[in-house]
Symmetry: C2
Subunit: 244 residues, 2 copies
Amino acid sequence: MPHRKQSPKTDIPPSCGACPSFEDNMCDALTRAAAGRPPHFLEPREHTALGRRIIYRVGGTLDRVPVLCQGWAATALTLSDGRRQIISFLLPGDLMSSTSIFGLPSPCSVEAITDLRYRTFPRADVREAISQDPALLAMLSRIWADQANLADQVAVNLGRRGATERVASLILRLSQRLQKRGMTQGQTMDFPLRQHHIADAAGITVVHVGNVLAEFRRAGLVEINGRALTITDPAGLRRVVGMP
Amino acid sequence: MPHRKQSPKTDIPPSCGACPSFEDNMCDALTRAAAGRPPHFLEPREHTALGRRIIYRVGGTLDRVPVLCQGWAATALTLSDGRRQIISFLLPGDLMSSTSIFGLPSPCSVEAITDLRYRTFPRADVREAISQDPALLAMLSRIWADQANLADQVAVNLGRRGATERVASLILRLSQRLQKRGMTQGQTMDFPLRQHHIADAAGITVVHVGNVLAEFRRAGLVEINGRALTITDPAGLRRVVGMP
DNA sequence: CGTGAGCTTGACTTGTTTCAACCAACGTGG
DNA sequence: CCACGTTGGTTGAAACAAGTCAAGCTCACG
C-alpha cells in the first residue's frame, strides 16, 4: 500500500520546558501551583501525538486537563457532509480544552497539525487549585475572556469580510500570538499550516486560498517558503484588513 | 425635524419576576445566593432601556454584572466601515456580559432590540459569591461552556454554510432557546427581529434575507406575521440545515 | 519508479451583492 | 386632518466574488 505514514522523520524531544513562557500560560501556572503540595497533587502526565491525528473528539469529556507544550493543533467542527470549520489554532502554552476543567463535553474536536507534545493535569486537582487560589481563577477568567474575544473576531471575519481580508487577518493574528510567545524571528515565523488549514479556518476553498496567497506574494505583502512565513510588508497587510 | 422618537407606545412593567425560570438563570441564582447574607449584599439595581439603544460599548468595563430580565438584545461588533456582525441574541434570563464578572473589558457591544428591563448586581459581591459557592462557579462554567458552544456553531454557520442554511439554523436555534424559557406557544413565538437583525447575524445582506424568507414562506416552512413567527414545518426546516 | 499530498493556473458556474424602484405602515408636524 | 419623512419590506436586473471542475506540476516517501 502507498505511504500511510503520517510524519516520517520526526523526533520529539523529552520533557516540558519547551513550553514558552508568557502571560496566562496554564502549564506554567499549574506547575507552580503544585509547589508545596502533597507529592502527586497536580502531577502532569506527558503525551505526544503525530501530525494530522485527531486527539479529542467533539462531545467527549475528559478527566484530565490538557495543555499544549510543543507543536501546532487546531480545534474544529465538521458537518455531516464533510464541510469543516477550524475554530481556532492552538499554539504552545494554550489550554487545549477549557471545558475539560469542569468535566463538560467538548464543543469541538482537537486535531494535531504538526507532531505535538502536551501535558495533562488531573481535573479534580485543577478544580481544587482554582477554587482555592483566586489568582488562578482570575487567570482562568482571562483565558475565557481571551477566547470569547477571539471567537467574536472570528465571527466578524467570517460573517462580514471578504476572502483576502480573512486570510490577512488570520496571518496577522497568528503572528501576534507567536510574537507573544517569542516564537518569531523578526517578521519571519515557523508556519506549518497547509493551504487547506487556512481554507478551513477562513471559510473559503483551498483553490481560493491559493489565489489570495499568490496575490499577496505578487503585492509583496507576505512570502511563504517551505514551512516559514515572512510578512514582508506588515503595514500593507494591516491595511488589507482595514486596521491602519 | 422628522420623527426621532425610538419606541412610541411602550410601557415597561415594574420589577423582576418576568425573568423566566430555566436552568442556569443567573438572575435567579444570584437572588437566591443573596439569601441569608448581610442586607445589601448582592442587591440588584433595576434598569430599563429603549429599543435600538446601545447599552454597553465595546471595550468598556463594568462594575456591575447585568442580567437581562425582559425583552431582546444583541451583542454585536462593528467594523470601521460600518459593516456589522451580530454575535448573539440575548434573551430574558441571559447574562448580558460575562466578562463583567471579572472586571475585564467587553469584547463586543450590547444593543437593545426591543425595550428592555434588566438588573445589575455589584461585581465584587458576585465575585465573592462565586469564589465561595462551588455550585455558582459550576453554573458560571456551564454558562461559559454554553457560550463557547454557541460561538463554535456560529463559526461553522458563517464559515461553511450558505445563506438559506444560516437563516434556517438561526431561526431553529432561537426557537430552541425560547422553548427552554417557556416563551413559545406551540410552534409560534414572539419574534421582534427585523430583517436587518437577521442579516447582521447571518452575515448576509438585508435584501438576501428577504429573498430567503420569501422562499421559506413559499415552501411552507415558516410564516412571519407582524411580530410573531410560526415554524409551519419544523422537520422541513431542520432538513434545510442538514439535521434530520 | 510510482503514488499521493500539496500547490498553481485557467475556464466556467453559482450564490450573493449591489443598485434601483416601489409599496405599506406609522408618527409627526404643519 | 393631511402631507411628509422614516422605517421596513418586496422585487428585478446587472455586477461581482467565490466555488467548482479540471489539468498539470513538484516533491517526499516507500
